[in-house]
């Protein structure tokens, strides 16, 4: 299982890097998962919720996405929340990994939604730009997303373009900001971005009186805590 975890992880990372490179985005942040995140992954995949996460085909597949779909989702979500130095986005927080695990488990009923949505997205991009989404420039990718948001991509039926956009936006936010046990928010990077200290069990009267940023360590997660200042960008 552990060997599979590592290879699956590697697969998703490669897909994300490929997408980022194709889109011309700077891969400025290390993509090797942190020890804490890896530990959480192992915990999850060994836990009761794991059946959907064991993929028989091993290294060349995610828990749900194939290589092309993983690259598309990585590129799409990275435009919804772009990564910049000091400003972690979808790639830096591992949103792709979150969505991949969710579709193999809690959101399994959305597999068809994603398959059809991705096919429609590809049809739209090829009809409009004669290229797949991952090969478009970031500016063109933004045009595509804006068209989906406005419901102006006629290649979509189910899901509608707007539904696909809204769902991708929601799942990007979940991957950025859900506890790291769910596979995203790597090393609490999403929480650090906005300055959320996690599931603190208590705030004191002086915390409530403060007009300053809350920086007291640690950030509290379900399985792990993180020491040090919040370190926002």
């Amino acid at each position: 299982m552990a060997k599979h975890d590592a290879s699956r992880r590697e697969f998703l990372v490669r897909a994300a890097v490929g997408a980022g490179a194709a889109a011309g985005a700077a891969a400025s942040v290390g993509l090797v998962p942190g020890a804490a995140a890896q530990e959480q992954m192992n915990h999850m995949e060994g836990g009761a919720s794991s059946p959907g996460q064991q993929h028989p085909n091993g290294a060349e597949h995610g828990a749900f996405f194939n290589h092309a779909d993983a690259a598309t989702i990585a590129a799409f979500t990275e435009r919804i929340m772009p990564s910049e130095p000091g400003k972690p986005g979808a790639r830096d927080t591992d949103v792709l990994n979150y969505i991949d695990l969710a579709l193999a488990g809690a959101y399994a009923e959305l597999q068809d939604f994603y398959r059809r949505g991705l096919a429609s997205l590809d049809a739209h991009c090829r009809a409009t730009y004669k290229e797949s989404f991952v090969h478009l420039t970031p500016e063109k990718q933004d045009e595509v997303i804006a068209a989906l948001e406005e419901g102006k991509a006629s290649e979509f039926t189910y899901p509608t373009a707007r539904e696909f956009f809204v769902t991708l936006r929601i799942h990007t936010m979940e991957g950025m900001f859900a506890d790291p046990v769910y596979g995203g928010n790597r090393d609490f990077a999403g929480w650090r971005l906005v300055g959320f200290p996690g599931a603190q069990a208590i705030f004191t009267p002086s915390d409530l009186k403060s007009t300053a940023e809350f920086t007291r360590a640690p950030i509290v997660g379900l399985q792990t805590t993180a020491k040090g200042p919040m370190g926002r960008g």
Binding site: R79, P82, K87, G195, F196, A199, A201, T211, F214
Partner: protein, 573 residues
Amino acid sequence: MAIEKTDVVIVGMGAVGGIVAAELGKAGMKVIGLERGPRLSTADFNPHDELRYFQRQDLRPNWKRQPVTWRPNPSATAHPMNVLNYGNQAGGGTVHYGTLSWRMHEDDFRARSHTVERYGASAIPEDSSLADWPVTYADLEPFYDRAEYELGVSGKAGNLQGKKIDGGNVFEAPRQRDYPLPALLDDQSGVLFAEGARKLGYHPFSSPRAIISQPYHDRASCTYCGFCQSFGCHVGAKSSILVTKLPEADATGNFKLLTGTMCYHVKTDNSGRATGVSYYGPDGSDNTIEAEIVILAPFIYDNTRLLLLSKTDKFPNGLANSSGQLGKHVMAHIMAKVFVGFDDRFVNIYMGPSAQKHTIDDFNADNFDHKDAGFIRGAQISIGPADLEAGPIGTAMAMDPPPGTPRWGAAYRDFLAKYFSRYGAINAQTENLAYADQTIDLDPNVKDQHGMPAPRVTYDWRRPNEKARVEFLMQKMEGIGHAMGASKVWRGALSPGVPGAHHEGGTRMGNDPKTSVCNKYGQTWDIPNLFVIGSSTFPSMSGFNPTLTIQALAYMSADAIAKRYKSHPGALV
């Protein structure tokens, strides 16, 4: 295929069920409570997990297994909707609620008469079915008091036996004594809101909440962690039915709770009496409870649904529906929002109890002059996080960016990063009027996991009276935002007609069996041993959260059953 006999069977173990079970158990009656969800404990709510409880709604029914559908009008197709207040465990919605605990104003109980007296009958929209309650504030005051003291509500009196007290709600109806617990500590959003509101001459106060500010009845006090709305309390400081009345009911020795059970039918005989209920057990078994008294206390949809599904030759239009009013006059609050952002300081709104933290009551009910306003009734205005919960997922879902800032991309990322801990949402909880064509019926297309038709809500809040009120309130809230010294003040998007929070109505109470389903005790006019208790009986909704009024009604009904009905079964009115 179990058949059991009992004195009282209660369907739903939430805000009403727990109170009635405890009180009737104390009166020596044998009570069985049916609850479709599990019985959790305080230890289950640690640690807090926003994805699980807020985003995936783990303490609410799964919409795929227990769907409620909504359509804006009869020509639209209904689709499943998310319902904020629906509970799915022993304790019901009080396990995950925001705990706002209001006494309604005196004029809230007679909204129609009061409006006619002050503004004339023409002030009421022609198609509105706004009605007075068959109970007055004075009738209910002792039961409000019991609920506050037995459950544990924190707040500061603003009207003590007629004496107005600064710092409390000076618009509240007179109370006989103060709250049992002092108000919760203010967080920075409350401090800013209070300063801004006072500058404008308004009367801000810390919202009364069923969260204990000091140790009470062997329970630990609030730790201000901020995980309230959508979450169970990890220290048991939230005065949910789970930690208050269910232990009391257990202690009577007369109470049995059946979890994982789904009531699907109320049984009646040819004499017109209720004889019990049928339910599916957790193993799918089909079971019967025979009871002298049947009390329905689920969320509002399930009252109408059960009564419709239980129709017989004697009651062909559903039980308790000789008036034809069953399923009508459905109401819901909507939340109109104005956001405030601060560049020069942090607000850290994720600290402290999360929902509707600080309030002004100046624009609620008829607390201000509506002459020439173009609408009647008002709203409670409060400060809090965008979706009554302040984690980053909820904020990304509900904090609309200001005009000119997109909802995605680098500019959105930077907006969220900057304002997540520097913002607040001013929120107007509007008293939307009752209209007869706002209904609950049985969805012909969507079924639940048991094969029962889903309850279908037909509702659209966007009526002239309601839209005019929202515009008025938006302007007031923008004024408060500027008075708070915010760097940015902007309006949130309005919902597309969908009912917001606190759905009420469907089994309206009244004084007349021809125009209402039940009397003030929730006793149905048609079947005297069948009671419906909860916000489905509300004739009007007020701008306040309904739970404390629901609980006061539950105490009043339990009192009448124990003191009068038990010895003399029959009509209580």
